[in-house]
Symmetry: C2
Subunit: 249 residues, 2 copies
């Protein structure tokens, strides 16, 4: 530890107590013209000051003196992107001493899965920040060129969010959040394809999904459309702990 | 928000940037003389200064300028209790503005499940803090009298840790961590009984457990003992992400 002592301004800032920031990872389903299927997209904000001036970063900002963590995350998200999700879930606190080149910052990261319509509505409503501001844009989560060159350790944060999505969250719950209360099996396949980032055979998928425990049939069918209306399903899994799906005050 | 402005020292401290602390929840299995079965126990530290002077609290302390979060958690745990677990997992960041009556503190909480033997070894080895210090002691997680009167929001933190254990962690993984690589079905029942805090019928439990996906038979049997040696099982579930089971440097 003694051997790592540095001198100068950066070293002095490193001796200050760590600062706290709150950032968000927002995933939405969107059509992907390249693949012809749905993909996972997320909003990023271009940094307008050092460090990492000009690079893309997760929406976020400092923790105000009086906001709860989730309210600070929601306020930072709204101010930078115009997005107002219904809930946010705490993902992880990132605190490596070297993650910022200047003062040490611990970032508490929240995440949410939002419906495609919500994401679009919010863009066109309210401040329209997303449409008008060249420093805010949606990117495909598999856009390697962008995702590998984010500010701070934000590439690592998004990697971890994707890992959590692929490994730890029930698909019924993901479908529920990305699609709403009721959804067709074809829509669920779109969710799997977006999260796994590959095409799936419709017939095989149908067979396997029926065995999954966390999705159940309803008595309703999708109205509209020319063909036989497809059946609607819903998420049948457990509800979260209040700390795991925090509503924003 | 304006209406909640206060005056005096506390109000001034509230305007300072939030301070960061790191705390730990350590669960171990121990015999419970009252019930005759295993129970979940955790170490607590009595506060020797205000706020909450004299009340029990989770082991923890401030985040040093240069430690990673997990290293700070491990160092605080070692300094207050003498315990040195092999890994720690991040549980949650607690940041309600009102959780401390003086300066605002955001606590990043880590947790671990440790083997009974590890917990005992650590007590008798090294500094023996746990044995000699009247301000450090193990308590049953279901000791309502203690758990409902902890400092800060630590009762809520323990409640959430227990909820996670009961709802979000695979039992095979819990058994693996609390018992080790190999375990008998009777030992797994002990784990379920401790986590659920109730007795389970051995025959029913055996039947139901065999259907669980995350525990598999080995070809080994427990040696020693007078009776037919019971078969050993192991956890067959997925490995965690490196961020979810952090080794301590």
């Amino acid at each position: 530890m003694v051997g790592s002592v540095q001198f100068g301004n950066v070293a002095e800032r490193r001796e200050q107590p760590p600062a706290l920031a709150v950032s968000t990872v927002i995933f939405a389903l969107r059509d992907d013209d390249r693949t012809g299927r749905k993909g996972l997209w997320l909003p990023l904000v271009r940094r307008t000051r050092e460090p990492f001036l000009g690079q893309w970063a997760l929406p976020g900002g400092p923790l105000g003196a009086r906001d709860s963590l989730v309210d600070a995350a929601a306020a930072n998200l709204r101010d930078t992107t115009g997005l107002i999700p219904r809930y946010l879930e705490q993902l992880y606190a990132f605190g490596d001493p070297a993650r910022s080149p200047t003062r040490r910052v611990v970032s508490i990261v929240y995440w949410a899965l939002v419906r495609e319509n919500d994401a679009q509505h919010t863009e066109s409503a309210a401040t329209s920040v997303l449409l008008d501001d060249p420093n805010v844009a949606w990117f495909r989560a598999d856009d390697v060129e962008v995702m590998e060159h984010l500010a701070f350790d934000h590439s690592r944060i998004i990697d971890y969010a994707l890992w959590r999505l692929r490994n730890k969250v029930e698909y019924g719950s993901i479908a529920h959040r990305l699609l709403g209360e009721r959804f067709t099996l074809a829509q669920v396949r779109g969710v799997y394809e977006a999260v796994l980032n590959k095409s799936l055979d419709p017939a095989n998928f149908r067979r396997q999904l029926r065995a999954a425990a966390d999705i159940e049939e309803t008595d309703e069918f999708l109205s509209g459309g020319k063909h036989r209306p497809p059946r609607l399903y819903r998420y049948s899994g457990s509800t979260s702990h209040p700390l795991e799906s925090e509503t924003i005050s």
